[in-house]
């Protein structure tokens, strides 16, 4: 292995992508080539742009149909979805929630929004997600287990839930993680914000959590402008999620009564209209993105010092955000590569700063994070839009 030649990296990326327009190549931009304009216009014409309307119901049905969960509840974004999912899984103030150190800040923010404390877990290189074996060994050491669940021996706080996150769309190893949750009486909430279209052992991600969440932010595989969803196979929880996210109003012809401290986290109908049009194209987007990933994989086969990350065993990934892994010896080249690629008009980025390093989470409990620390300095994301695929 030798130091990566940055020109070779740039050449490999350029050999794969088909840039339709001027200017820098984005990391991920949406593609609106279906019924987006027609559905949004229809929504405006109907005047039902807000919290009631046919597109919300239809979008929720399309999401449930595609992912194979029983129910989907559309909300304003993935962070809000995660906060409500945690609350419905029974997470209370001062509980701890096991969260990967290597994830977008929303996973820990939503935990904090419940008044709970994120407790950071290491990742494994195979999936870029939570390491089930390491988590199990760690809990053996720090957790007290009794009839009421699992307690952190050191802090005395209950550890109520675990949030595996499917990094860049690559499924975490859900079966052994489910086993750890069962053993330690913790609830699993899948943060599937990045993994719409990703399958684990033939089943769509989001089917393992008591509740799971999706995101439709502008940089995701499909977008609603801003948006997210809670998905679950528990119909009673789905009903409660809908109720809690729509101000907990008790249905009545005219009376205004509410029976919970609810939230205004509903997805507006106009955003759902965009979502319906996007869902119609999802299979096409996924095919294009897989094709792009395959081309990247071939193009990087002969570039020294970097490896194109491919889907984990047992997984079929959506390849939401394509990613290179620098060889360990070459991690110090990362910033130079980021600088030169961005200067060359090819947007690249490192992974998120590990959450335990952010000021507001610095004092949160955590296990040894050596794999996450290693990945943090080696990951580089490269352009991944479906529209970059050469035909």
């Amino acid at each position: 292995m030798s130091t990566p030649d940055i020109d070779n990296i740039i050449a490999a990326i350029r050999s794969v992508i088909h840039q339709k327009k001027e200017g820098p190549v984005s990391l991920h931009e949406p593609c609106f080539e279906g019924n987006e304009r027609a559905y949004v216009k229809d929504c405006i014409d109907s005047t039902w742009v807000s919290y009631v309307g046919k597109y919300v119901d239809r979008f929720e049905d399309m999401l449930a149909g595609f992912t194979g969960v029983k129910k989907a509840v559309a909300v304003v974004n993935g962070t809000a979805a995660l906060q409500i999912a945690l609350q419905l899984a029974g997470v209370k103030a001062n509980d701890e929630v096991l969260v990967p150190a290597l994830t977008f800040v929303a996973t820990a923010n939503a935990t904090a929004h419940c008044g709970a404390v994120p407790h950071f877990v290491d990742s494994e290189e195979k999936t870029l997600g939570m390491d089930p074996d390491k988590l199990k060994n760690y809990l053996k050491e720090i957790a007290n287990l009794n009839d009421n669940g699992c307690t952190n021996k050191k802090t005395g706080r209950r550890i109520k839930a675990v949030i595996p996150m499917h990094t860049f769309g690559h499924p975490a190893d859900l079966d052994p993680l489910t086993e750890v949750c069962r053993e330690y009486k913790m609830e699993m909430i899948e943060d599937a914000a990045e993994s719409l279209g990703s399958f684990y052992k033939g089943k769509h991600t989001g089917n393992w959590g008591k509740l799971s969440i999706l995101s439709f932010n502008g940089n995701k595989t499909i977008t609603t402008g801003g948006g997210g969803a809670i998905i679950t196979n528990d119909e009673a929880l789905a009903k409660l999620a809908k109720h809690l996210t729509s101000t907990a109003k008790i249905p009545h012809r005219w009376e205004y009564r509410h029976d919970y401290i609810g939230y205004n986290y509903r997805m507006p109908n106009i955003n759902a209209a965009l979502g319906c049009a996007q869902m119609e194209q999802l299979t096409g987007f996924l095919n294009k993105k897989r094709n792009l990933a395959e081309r990247y994989s071939r193009a990087f086969r002969n570039v020294d010092g970097v490896k194109f990350f491919t889907e984990p065993p047992h997984a079929k990934s959506n390849y939401w955000l394509n990613c290179l892994l620098l060889d360990k010896a070459d991690a110090e080249q990362r910033n130079k590569i980021l600088e030169k690629t961005n200067d060359a008009g090819i947007m690249t980025r490192p992974v998120w700063t590990l959450l335990n390093k952010l000021n507001m989470f610095r004092d949160c409990p955590r296990m040894d994070l050596s794999c996450a620390e290693d990945l943090e300095v080696r990951i580089i994301n490269i352009p991944s839009s479906a529209s970059l695929t050469k035909s």
Copy 2:
């Protein structure tokens, strides 16, 4: 005074409104006769439908320009705006916040979302908003004042803030309320969710609070599908509001670092596109709504047992939601009127159930609420859409 004749009420409403389409007359529906479709299409064509884009900046500038505040920060909805405004005003968990008992549940929910406790205040019939004299006398009795602010003698909790809400768009009596806040060292946050276009002593509502909030829900004077804004004359707070509502990311060419437990409360660009088109028509909407209110006022002059509520002294109201006040002796007729008008295809509704009566707020502190209790059984809202105005 005699018992209201329901047929006369229905006839008075019918004499005023111009119903363009089939089916029941809504309480309030949006009107999309400007650049809505063009701006939304432009937004989709640009691919910038999500959290970055020119419409968000433009919408914020239009809001600031119209209301005369220095800065507006567009967010997902009014509830989220209120939560962040309270946090930025220094409200902490276990503080008390003075909130009208007669308001939409969001005012109290947002307080609870901060971990604070709503403390319910009575209204006055003149404005339908907080009664400043009654509040002042109440605080004289229950509050301890020292250098650090105001404490509730009974609960021992700090009373940090007051949220006057401008009911149906009618401004609360802001000058004496400001005086009470100054005397008791409490921050004022105006809940101007319903009062875009309403002025108090010649100045737009939202200019008295340390921060104030607007709502653009589908039933409001203008709509963005779902949406809200924080408005403030404090530019440093506005900057922090923008930062906190957009995940508190530190700007950097590629690095992902965050310096607060932030929120994903940004308004997507596609919703702001709708908002820009609506703002262009706001003056027209307000003129039509005022005209509708004037006609209602005339039509109800000769209907026994009810009074059409007109703007308070010193105020120019937007007449967001028009309202009848039943004579005290006739309050027991309310449900019959609601039933018959709705049966006749004219949507009407009572005011919100007083918040202190809802299960989740039942144990919150409150003053004597006799005026709010009286108003609760006497208010009936009647159709108010700008599009109902006869030309």
